[in-house]
């Protein structure tokens, strides 16, 4: 294909991605090395606010931004190098903890706390999603033909349901005396609070993610199983391979590209974990990298947002993703070199 034709085909897609993803990405990259702040002044301000029936007036020194002649706040932008990264990473505290031998203290720093959870979340759910997905695919493939339609339909439900609603529905089952907690309490005879400590919340989050994504893995594996080469399977049987060996040596290798595909998608989605933090209100105990970024970006009541630190934390998240993706991407590169032309 000539370059011109190629450009015509991919042009619209590339244009949209540049406009809405690449340009913002570049601006985030630049912002992570800058600090833009309003020029502040100290003013004596008298504020009168309602009590009940009478007003209370206070005069106090307030630090307020200077407003320029065009009616907008005057801001200055400075290049600060790696300062924002330093603020996010807090390496001095990390070294302090290391040299004092208290490694647990590192996990009290927001970024490292978030990184610990994000990595663990990604790496724990990955094999679970692939395993559960494969198991469902194999059992569905094993079920009677008449049952398959409805079973596939039910299996897909957790995947299609709106994430905000899915996580909330599970939260309600467990929070306080939610019915499942109440059930566990009556079995065990003790008072259980699922949202009172970190590990139970984490467990619920793992469970939710696997519940939500396993159907995606399932439907892809199920499609893959439909194309397993029956000849290979039969010759394996004639060679005396048992069920397990057939699964291991025929079916899994056949599904390998799909496993890589799911791993790729799952790594990316999991590393951005955010919905679960909000849905399960786990901020007190566990936070994720994207939550940290959003938290920096969310304006407080006075309208402040930590844009530079948010940019730095977003860039650090990106770097992490690229590391995680190196392995699956090398496979794609090999496929590309050996594959289509």
């Amino acid at each position: 294909m000539k370059f011109k034709t190629f450009a015509a085909f991919v042009g619209p897609s590339v244009f949209m991605m540049i406009l809405f993803i690449a340009l913002p990405l570049i601006s985030v990259f630049i912002q992570s090395f800058q600090i833009t702040q309003p020029v502040m002044q100290n003013l004596e301000v008298e504020t009168c606010t309602p009590g009940f029936l009478t007003q209370t007036c206070v005069t106090e020194l307030k630090t307020v931004p200077v407003i320029g002649e065009d009616g907008k706040t005057v801001t200055t932008t400075e290049w600060t190098g790696l300062q924002s990264y330093r603020n996010v990473l807090q390496m001095d505290k990390v070294w302090e903890a290391v040299s004092a031998g208290r490694l647990g203290d590192i996990l009290q720093i927001d970024f490292w706390k978030a990184l610990r959870f994000t990595l663990m979340f990604t790496l724990v759910t990955l094999p679970l999603v692939i395993g559960v997905g494969l198991l469902i695919a194999l059992t569905v493939n094993n079920a009677a033909k008449a049952l398959r339609g409805p079973v596939i339909f039910v299996s897909l439900l957790p995947f299609i349901i709106t994430p905000v609603i899915g996580s909330l529905s599970i939260y309600w089952l467990f929070v306080g005396d939610g019915i499942l907690t109440a059930m566990m309490e009556s079995w065990s005879g003790t008072n259980i609070s699922m949202f009172a400590q970190a590990w139970t919340i984490e467990l619920l989050m793992y469970f939710y993610r696997v519940w939500h994504v396993a159907p995606f893995a399932f439907v892809i594996f199920y499609a893959g199983l439909q194309t397993v080469n029956m000849d290979t399977l039969e010759s394996a049987i004639i060679d005396g391979a048992n069920r397990w060996e057939r699964l291991r040596h025929v079916i899994i290798p056949h599904l390998m590209p799909l496993i890589v595909f799911i791993a790729l998608i799952h790594l990316m989605d999991c590393y951005r974990v955010f919905d679960e933090i909000i849905g399960f209100r786990s901020q007190a105990h566990v936070i994720s990298l994207q939550w940290l970024t959003v938290d920096f970006l969310t304006p407080d009541d006075a309208g402040n947002r930590a844009i530079s630190r948010a940019a730095a934390s977003a860039m650090l998240t990106m770097i992490g993703i690229v590391f995680l993706l190196i392995w699956p991407l090398r496979r794609t590169w090999k496929d590309h070199k050996g594959g289509a032309h």
Binding site: T73, A284, T298, P299, D301, A306
Partner: protein
Amino acid sequence: MMLKKLALAGAVSLMGTGAYAACAFENTVEIKSLSAGFEAWKAVTDAMSECGNVQAELDQEFRTKQPAAFEANPSLYHIGGVSNGTVTPLLNAGTIRPLDDLVAKYGGHLQPNQLIKIDGKIMAVAMMVNTQHLMYREDILSDLGIATPTTWDEVYAAAAKIKEAGVAEVPLGATMKSGWNLAQEMVNMLPGHGGKFFNDDNTPAVNSDEGMAALATLKAALEFTDPEVLVSDSTYVQQQFQQGKIAMANLWASRAGAMNDEAESQVVGKVKMAAAPMAVAGGAPATTLWWDGIVIAKNITDEEADAAFRVAMEGLDEEMVKANNDAAIWLVKGYVPGPLAEGAIATATANPPAPAYPSTTRMGLMHTALGNELPAFLTGDRDAAATLVAIEEAYITAAKEAGVLE
């Protein structure tokens, strides 16, 4: 005494008005408003819409959108619904206009108490107040012979008795969801103990004896609260209250109405309101006063501002208040405070009174720092002294980035 006066004022104004009129004038200018979405705003914006050509947006993302939308030229909205917290970014950016001339023209019916003045200029018109105060199950407390607690020590003593008697699943409810809610508890407690958040040069001052005392008071609550208190927001506490699980809580006044909602509540008529408990005897109630009200954008034409203000005044008139008397603790003429408002009024009229929430740029930064650093203290991961240090460090980093500190 105060109540009687108020009731009288209400009754007089009731007689004064005639039949119900939807809107006093026909609005022909396209007006848009952006506010939060709770019950009182629904009532006010519905009343504004009666004038025609009003598009009211009740948006839970209004905090994020409002500063940017008012900064656009022309402003995307004419009327903004703000609280004393969220008005700060608009004041700082100078995107709302002084209302003195408009109030003189159309605001004859406003109470002087409603006019929010900054340096003598009217910048907003308040419509209601809100505060956290003590709600308690009157039946439980009187059964156990406990007098209404007035200080946090008494609250904890009462909670201990309730726990011992085993009459409530959760003796004490608390809105300590990590983040904004938990930080708000500290904002109540530290000044309550006589502490302050800042020195005059904007450096933090929480690492003090008062800070330690405030943290100790906060943590003492955990003995009596639900183990999942760090995920409890006001809706959750309200629900537990309605289900009869909670005996006492320091909860928002705007939640009081829900206790007597037949459709939701199992404790109708059993919950009473009292002033917010004091942190130290003889001090101010350990809480803050909030108001909600309207502002008018600067980047619009004078005609639009004129129409917008008139429409807003229609939304804040007596008829609206009479139709929605229990939706909020209104500041508008015509409000008749019911028993549910007792606690809030007692809090606001205490001597010394509870302070208004000190909304400033630095307070916003401090609020965030508190919200992020306090959970580790309450889960036991960090002791009080280290927590205060961590709060100060988090604040200093943010303040330097925002330009508040050098």
